[in-house]
Subunit: 367 residues, 2 copies
């Protein structure tokens, strides 16, 4: 086996991120933020443990975690070059937040990730009511630095190679769950630390379910098959969907569906560039599918950001209000699902660049 | 490949669970509960999607999900035999919660899982303030029915077989990450839908980190190695840790550590039976390690419940106040970690029975 980590990745700019966050605090109406989202904590500190919260104010950053991470946390924070103190908190200890909060009148909590229970506990500990903040760190995470792009690109390349490896097995008689496992294994042996999410291989009627789970049904000649999968490299994810028809696209209804959705994806991708409203990318895909009589069959949003989380900002949807920016990494993934018949989705992960965009997932689209 | 799902599993008693929850509502001070924890929604309805919330009051149960799950949700609910209506909600629709809440003065939210942001949104939608509930569904989930035990036992058996398969590769020169991948692959080909959590294979100095990630370091003769892993079968998980010394236990400090922690685990396991205080199981492990001079080296709790989540109730810890009950499935997993030297952990997943307990993980403990 040759399951080593991907080599030669450029460093992440972790050390710069705390100051970028500090610059947002005052506008958010807070003097300090208690970061409780584990992915946000990782982004700001380099710490990958499952339990930890991070206090950030104008001059301090303190990572609070438990005894299991007493060695790992300081090592990872130092490795990332982040100016963060680590405090190990026992279950019986008084929360260090009380001491840290002394003098900070306005303390923000991440309303999207903190549980109501934790908010109530902290509100009891603190003097004033905490302030709900919304997406401060998530907003920073939308624009990727070079190290992040390199990791997502490496994950995408691993997924591309895995599909090339497994593609010959995509034939009549093959079982969805076996194909999913083969993709997962090929990604791991190719250097991924994990799959980015539960791999979807959905054939025949299952292809009409956008989030189908691989089952035990053998593929049959003429089946549409949707393969949606990605890899993880150093925490960063890729996301790609390729659709096929067993036996080749042919010239029937399946071929029409495959090419109609591909046209929609190309219409969306053509717009991806700095400054373009996100809703216009969504509208381009939707208009294309509408023209093909498939508007109703497109039952989900057009895309999403990809990074440390498989779904992060920005959303590429009809209700999105922002615009694309250089450094964002988003998916464009229109689909059409016809219950009882089958479905098709085409998806790529692309980087917004100064002169348009660059696809990070690059598998051929030959159904 | 023979990666089919595990056959012959007895059905889950999903249909009984809603009434069991309804019987708790009044004591919790609510007339209705909005279930937002995805695992809790699955437990009560059979729906496995990643997005959905469940309204439960005295006579209705309504699962609200989005268009991606418009076909899957009704099919899974019907398959589980749950008396649940499914409502597909578009992003622009008014929340059905407003209509459902009409006339229900006291509406509970799951404070441990609902985010503060969602609580604020719902508080705005509803007339009265929502009521924080704590662990109602989680409490029901602590006691497993026969179908659940069968799934956890099947997952445990798959993990046992995977270790037997990979054990010969646990030799000097083997790489942690390769061994972790081999365990994962053996579990998947053995019928698991997934690993239960990120597999730990931690050798040498890494074994002293309770939650180490597998790295690229080759194992050396004399290294202590901690392998902590589990499988998933139909959503249910297993959890097991085995420790080894490369080259065999020998008779030095490693051998002493391996047997001292095994003594502690046996002391804890000996107490596992209906009616025994959880804290006594923890104390038995701790007392045993204290006597060996290793009390300070045991830096985490003794165990936890296992089921749809890898960590669920009851906690087996010094601060736990309850007692073990028939049908609970818990881990007993003392460890001792000596920074710079190495660590050892022994863990089994066991079922509390009418006459003591039964181990579900059964791999030999021959380090």
């Amino acid at each position: 086996m040759s399951n080593g980590p991907v080599a030669g990745l450029p460093p992440l700019a972790v050390a710069d991120r705390l100051d970028a966050l500090r610059a947002l605090l005052d506008d958010a109406g807070v003097d300090a933020l208690l970061v409780t989202g584990t992915t946000n904590v990782r982004y700001l500190t380099g710490f990958t443990g499952s339990a930890g919260s991070l206090w950030v104010d104008g001059w301090r950053a303190v990572l609070m975690t438990d005894g299991r991470y007493g060695d790992q946390a300081p090592a990872q924070v130092a490795g990332a070059g982040a100016e963060v103190d680590v405090e190990v908190v026992g279950s019986s200890d008084r929360s260090p937040v009380t001491a840290l909060a002394d003098g900070s009148a306005r303390i923000g909590l991440e309303a999207r990730s903190v549980t109501w229970s934790e908010q109530r506990r902290l509100a009891n500990l603190l003097d004033g009511d905490p302030v709900a903040t919304d997406g401060l760190v998530e907003g920073l995470r939308e624009v990727k630095d070079d190290g992040e792009v390199a990791r997502i690109a490496a994950a995408a390349a691993i997924a591309d190679r895995a599909l090339a490896e497994v593609r010959p097995a995509l034939v009549a008689g093959a079982v969805e769950a076996d194909l999913a496992l083969a993709l997962d294994h090929a990604m791991r042996t190719g250097g991924a630390s994990d799959r980015a999410f539960e791999t979807i291989v959905a054939g025949g009627p299952n292809s009409a379910l956008p989030h189908a789970r691989p089952g035990s049904r053998p593929l049959a000649d003429g089946d549409l098959v949707v393969c949606d999968f990605g890899a993880v490299v150093d925490g960063y994810r890729s996301d790609m969907t390729r659709s096929f028809r067993i036996g080749g696209p042919g010239s029937g209804r399946e071929a029409d569906l495959l090419s109609a959705v591909l046209d929609a994806q190309e219409a969306g991708l053509a717009l991806v560039a700095d400054g373009v409203p996100l809703a216009e990318v969504d509208a381009a895909c939707r208009t294309s599918l509408d023209a093909a009589g498939l508007g109703e069959a497109f039952t989900h949003g057009t895309g999403h950001g990809v990074g440390l989380d498989i779904h992060e900002g920005p959303a590429v949807s009809a209700t999105a209000t922002g615009t694309l920016r250089v450094g964002q990494v988003v998916t464009v993934e229109p689909g059409a699902y016809l219950g009882g018949f089958g479905g098709v989705r085409w998806e790529d992960t692309v980087l917004v660049t100064a002169d348009g965009h660059r696809a990070l997932t690059r598998s051929p689209k030959d159904p």
